[in-house]
Amino acid sequence: MGREVAGSCLDGVVMEMVSAYCGRFYAAKPELAAGRIEAIGFQVGHQLSERYTMDRPRFTDHLEAIKFICKDFWSELFKKQIDNLKTNHRGTFVLQDNCFPWLTHVSLDPSMESTDATESDPALLGDTAAQTTSMLLYFPCGIIRGALTNLGIPCAVSADMSNLPACSFVVRIKT
């Protein structure tokens, strides 16, 4: 195991990033905020995947690359593997984490939300916790897309959190 820092440092910067983009910068334009959060994730995933595959032979097919994401890559990031992988064999993969760490650890501090939201539209504050969670998930989606793109697999990634704290990432490979 390499160098480590306290989990609260990572949780802190991720939450502040989400809160800055959704609250301070693009409060009225959630789709813009989502795009930026995804882009930040993409860059992280791209760089990490580059680092973690340096000494490996190239993957010969999509499934092999996806399995790498589910096992080695996920273990490096979260100290656990993806719990369940499904595919329709036509380019769609569903990666399920039964207890995604960022959904169980990242608690939403209401005071933080209210201070950041002072200038935003009150209508947007309705379901803040659920909204912030769905915004947060653009980050790991970006990480997965960045990692796969670095492996030569262009794709779209979305998250399904209908089963909290389980979370499924749906990868659709572009052909």
Binding site: G2, R3, A6, S8, C9, V13, Q43, V44, L77, D116
Partner: protein, 187 residues
């Protein structure tokens, strides 16, 4: 009454918290800074946002620190600074800072970091001249101290990303409200 358990050592604290891959943390912070530079255009505004993020993080980390460290009331700013350097930095970043360059009044000092996980793999391009890359750290210190009733101003005086031999932030205590420090009565 706070429990009379002795404070934990920095190493014991760091091993007691949940830890994550530092690469993920460092690259995430780097990607945030890069995106902010793209979106905000003005470097000064990026510095401000990084400081604000740090401040917000600091106001929350201080609770976790007080809950886990068994540290009780520090007698003065000097002891507070030592506690942050030896226990605070260690608990969260796994490194210790040195406290130095005290002024005569005992209200201004420096934290010096020779090893800073925030900047692993970072190189600043020439276009980022005015960027205070580590502003999140100074923001954390400011936010955390404000929660224990110490108003501070924190500025960077040395930065290895700009060719200095270490990271040094200057912390100036500007106002202290002693009666609220460090515990509020929960009743």
């Amino acid at each position: 009454m706070p429990p009379l358990t002795p404070p934990k050592s920095g190493d014991a604290l760091f091993s007691s918290v949940e830890r994550v891959n530092a690469e993920l943390f460092t690259l995430t912070y780097g990607a945030i800074v890069r995106q902010l530079l793209t979106d905000l255009e003005e470097v000064e505004e990026v510095n401000k946002q990084l400081d604000q993020m740090g401040y917000n993080i600091g106001t929350r980390l201080v609770d976790e620190f007080l809950a886990k460290s068994n540290v009780s009331r520090c007698v003065d700013f000097k002891e507070t600074a030592d506690t942050i350097a030896k226990l605070g930095f260690k608990m969260f970043l796994g490194v210790t800072a040195t406290v130095t360059n005290w002024d005569a009044e005992g209200t201004t000092c420096s934290f010096v970091l020779e090893d800073n996980p925030l900047v692993d793999f970072v190189e600043l391009p020439d276009t980022c001249q005015g960027l205070q890359y580590c502003n999140v750290l100074s923001g954390v210190i400011r936010g955390a101290l404000e929660m224990v009733s110490m108003k501070t101003e924190v500025t960077w005086v040395r930065d290895m990303l700009r060719g200095d031999d270490a990271y040094e932030m200057r912390v100036k205590l500007t106002k202290q409200v002693p009666e609220e420090y460090p515990y509020k009565d929960d009743d």
